[in-house]
Amino acid sequence: MGLGQSLLSALALALLGTIVLDVNWNTADNGSVIERTEYEIMATSLGTSVIERATGLAYDENTINSDISAATSCTPVASLGPEIGEIDSSYDDFDDFNGYNKVIVGDSLKFKSADFRITGTVQYVQLSGDSVVVSAGQTYNKLLTIRVWSSFMPDTLKFQTVYSYWYFR
């Protein structure tokens, strides 16, 4: 085999090798996207679940059994969070989710997914023009921010909802 032929063979091998590597890279990339989407679906359902649960509770500790006539009657900003002795299963008002921190552990039988960490913060908010801004004092609106992430996800998913004080019938 002459030098020219040897060079052509080497080039052909290099070209084919590059193509094979590209194909492998694309395949791995596609697989990664599909798996990531699956984790994100799960993370979304977990985040939504916390929000659903929170919005099913009373607006404030002081509105569970009675009405309030002024926003200042609500829990002070510094005291937002679960009351003494309250745990996850005994949360009874919306702002108990301030400082929320929970790890959801996956298993192969009951929860076929990865491990997730969920955190939550609650702030009083008010309208300023067309924007919702954080308030330094009590208002009739609270903003819940839930963050869900997993070591299998490149980004943290953030969910937010505003819950207002209202009286139903």
């Binding site: 085999m1 032929q5 063979s9 052909a12 091998l13 084919l16 193509i19 094979v20 194909v23 492998n24 395949t27 596609n30 697989g31 599909i34 989407t37 699956e38 679906i41 799960m42 359902s45 977990l46 939504t48 679940s49 916390v50 659903e52 649960r53 919005t55 099913g56 009373a58 299963s89 005994s90 929860f111 076929k112 997914s113 009286y167 139903f168 019938r169």
Partner: protein, 212 residues
């Protein structure tokens, strides 16, 4: 033809054959992977379609455009079991919005025998029945659909939930599993692998269900 030329030709053929085999193998593997990914995508799309429907309906448990027609939303759940539930709501039947008439919605899981013609032995219909209409179900590859019910304190309620216990339901945990109806990979003749996706809406509560 000299011996050197013969050696060159045999060498070239060997290299060519090797490259050809490599290319074919890469092509085959790529096709299989793409098929698997398409299956995964389909499964995820099906899962999202089902969950959107469930979330929409379950959020409206106890809702009625005319509140006087459903004065006590705490009585909106009529029957609750691990894989079936019947509740009252106001369904948008014609796309113009709720009509103010109370409807009953019944979800239940069909048997696997109904879909015995599909390769996946575990898939089944999830039926949705509005009032007395014929049951509607689509084969989206649902393999499991289960619900757990909790009271206000977060304590699980034993199923089937009957009588006064129905009014204690505060939150519902829905678990759903969807698989591809066709196997993505056949490891052995009897061991088929199906793409699957899992979803668990932990404690979905309905705003309309409780008088506040």
């Amino acid at each position: 033809m000299g011996a050197q030329v013969m050696i060159d030709m045999i060498g070239s053929m060997l290299v060519f054959g090797w490259l050809l085999l490599m290319t074919l193998r890469v092509n085959t593997a790529n096709d299989e992977n793409m098929q698997t990914y398409r299956g995964d995508l389909l499964v995820q799309e099906n899962l999202v379609a089902v969950t959107q429907l469930l979330e929409y309906d379950f959020r409206k448990i106890g809702f009625c455009k005319e509140p006087d027609n459903l004065p006590d939303p705490t009585r909106a759940i009529l029957m609750a079991d691990t894989s079936s539930i019947r509740f009252l709501t106001d369904v948008d039947k014609d796309g113009t919005g709720p009509d103010g008439v109370v409807d009953s919605v019944y979800y239940y899981l069909g048997p696997t025998s109904e879909l015995s013609q599909t390769p996946n032995p575990r898939d089944r219909y999830l039926y949705r029945v509005v009032d007395s209409e014929p049951p509607k179900g689509a084969n989206l590859g649902i393999t499991s659909f289960s619900m757990k019910y909790f009271d206000r304190a977060g304590v699980p309620i034993a199923t089937p939930v009957i009588g006064a216990a129905l009014q204690q339901i505060q939150t519902i945990q829905i678990t759903l599993s969807v698989e591809n109806v066709y196997a993505s990979t056949i490891v052995e003749t009897t061991n088929k692998q199906y793409s699957s996706a899992f979803w668990q809406q932990v404690r979905l509560s309905s705003r309309n269900y409780r008088n506040r």
